[in-house]
Symmetry: C2
Subunit: 351 residues, 2 copies
């Protein structure tokens, strides 16, 4: 099947660009003590998870227990749930999954640590934890230093397998590359490694210090004492990260069809916010000068055409760059892997 024959709206991945990103990130980590454990939440495609592992990743990060389950069912054995789970029902679910894989869950709460230890004991499950440290994103996590150390000791006392610490600096991903970002990254990495040192001073081994996304992996990946990086968006890339100065290639587009061409300066495509997220900004048009996406309704995209684009016709297919890959992939069940204009594989996105 040719690209033009795909039923629209459809999520399309340029396999050359994606494989280039895969290889570039793998070669960065090849000779380093720090390793890559990329985030599954970004693409949710088990086949891509396996491509990342084959390229050297030590496992995957997840944002939900359901994502952990998908990966376990697809044979992935090293999973960091880089998010808090608090309900007993979900802890039970996680404990059951931990029979099949090395599952490490983030914790930042004493009561949850107690519940987790209690459920793991009852089920004879081997649950591992990392202490989630707030490194300035101000979302989840305990403060660095003493509070992190206290929770680590508590987890061990209660019988959980303590593996280390994590802290995601999402607030730094938005900064353009440069001295300021490098400086702030250093502060984050230092606070994580200092927490590590404090915990080790108590005689507790720390195997994992996990941090960083696609915007900051290069700094954190060479910081002594950081052991793994969570970056995931690098694989498919999106316009947000490109605008922030990342040099990975965008591989992800939405294929859409022009359904209406009412006036010289306007066209409407068959893709709205139910297929393409605009939560962080509007998509741009790939390879067509003078065509701009002006708005997304629920099922429609409104294009503005300048003179040079007067040839745009009803029925014509157009590609829009995916602006925010995380939220857009979440709207789909498959992505079409395309090379040289030909569909090479259909990748299943699992939910």
């Amino acid at each position: 099947m040719r690209l033009n024959e795909i039923r629209t709206p459809a999520l399309v991945v340029d396999l050359d660009a994606m494989e280039n990103n895969l290889g570039r990130m793998a070669s960065f980590f090849r000779d380093k003590p720090c390793k890559l454990r990329p985030h599954f939440k970004n693409h949710k495609v088990p086949l891509l998870a396996w491509k990342q592992i084959e390229a050297g990743a030590i496992g995957l990060c997840c944002a939900t227990v359901r994502e952990v389950e998908i990966l376990v069912h697809h044979g992935v054995r090293g999973i960091l749930l880089a998010n808090e789970v608090t309900s007993e029902e979900k802890i039970h679910w996680l404990a059951d999954l931990s029979r099949h894989a090395d599952i490490i869950a983030a914790v930042d709460d004493e009561r949850v640590v107690s519940d987790m230890a209690c459920i793991a004991r009852k089920k004879r499950a081997r649950l591992s934890v990392v202490v989630d440290i707030n490194v300035g994103l101000n979302r989840c996590g305990v403060p660095p230093g003493e509070p992190a150390c206290r929770l680590a000791k508590s987890a061990i006392e209660k019988g959980l397998r303590f593996r280390g610490v994590m802290g995601y600096e999402g607030h730094l991903q938005a900064l353009p590359p440069g001295e300021e970002r490098d400086h702030l990254c250093l502060i984050v990495d230092k606070s994580l490694v200092d927490s590590r040192t404090l915990i080790e001073a108590e005689g507790i081994p720390v195997e994992i210090v996990s941090t960083a996304g696609t915007g900051t992996y290069a700094e954190a990946g060479v910081y002594p004492g950081v052991t793994e990086i969570q970056a995931g968006s690098y694989l498919l890339m999106d316009t947000i990260y490109v605008n922030r100065g990342s040099t990975f290639q965008r591989s992800l587009t939405m294929l859409v069809t022009v359904i209406c061409r009412p006036e010289p300066g306007r066209a409407v495509v068959d893709c709205g916010m139910k297929e393409l997220s605009a939560e962080r900004g509007l998509s741009t048009v790939k390879g067509l000068d003078g065509v701009e996406l002006k708005a997304l309704h629920a099922e429609h995209g409104l294009l503005e055409l300048r003179n040079s684009a007067a040839g745009v016709k009803v029925g014509q297919k157009i590609e829009l760059w995916v602006h925010y890959s995380d939220a857009t992939v979440n709207l789909h069940r498959r992505m079409y892997g395309v090379r040289d204009g030909e569909v090479e594989e259909v990748l299943t996105i699992e939910h």
Copy 2:
């Protein structure tokens, strides 16, 4: 199962409020020549479509061929595809579906009319069309009057079954109720009915004049010559329409769990934009004073707590009002129908 036992994040519908909306809208149309053909795109739940039909709706409107297919498979027999379809492949799909139901498709393009007629003839399918008129939304549609009349004649000449006209005034849905909106509604309804008159003057019968959403049904529903209303959001309702002055009751919430309570003034819940759309604004919190949703990340919601809400705890479940139901329902596969705190039915959302 109690409301509190549902795994979060989960979409919850208050059955009393929803049934109240269903009954109120049905009673508005009971004694009127104009009828309701509500939009399926809003809830995508076949069971709710059937509740609407049982309450008097003459069929359903759809935004995509896939939605038409879902309804056909669930036995619905009167379907208006209130959107443009242009690719031959989708016209084939629609023609196949038209063997099982009375399917009426919106058209606004000569070439598409030709393709549709050609495919319908080849397949011996009975495709009906309404001419889509641009009533000021400036999305799809031909201008009212002569252009609409020309396309109607063309559809008939080519062998399609012409049924009437439609025009959706989405730009008026956002206006608060009042004289200005009423006045603009009258202009829209008049332009549709004038187009009807013009077409009838050519000796062409016009069975359908379709328009209006939840913000404007009351005006359009009594305008002489308008035959059916497309309003769909009234059933589940959302904060957008409530903010615009609608008196239907909001029935739709997101049940979420507090996963982190790092500081006196902050809490984090297990629901971000992958589960709850913020495309048109942020949700508010149901029934909890002093708690405000400040931001949605991909998988997290960030709450600000004032003093009065100091009791919010890790593990606690909270309901958020769905701000934009169309885009939020699109993120889910089921909604939990709840009455008096008890789950009464699980409604399947079809995609």
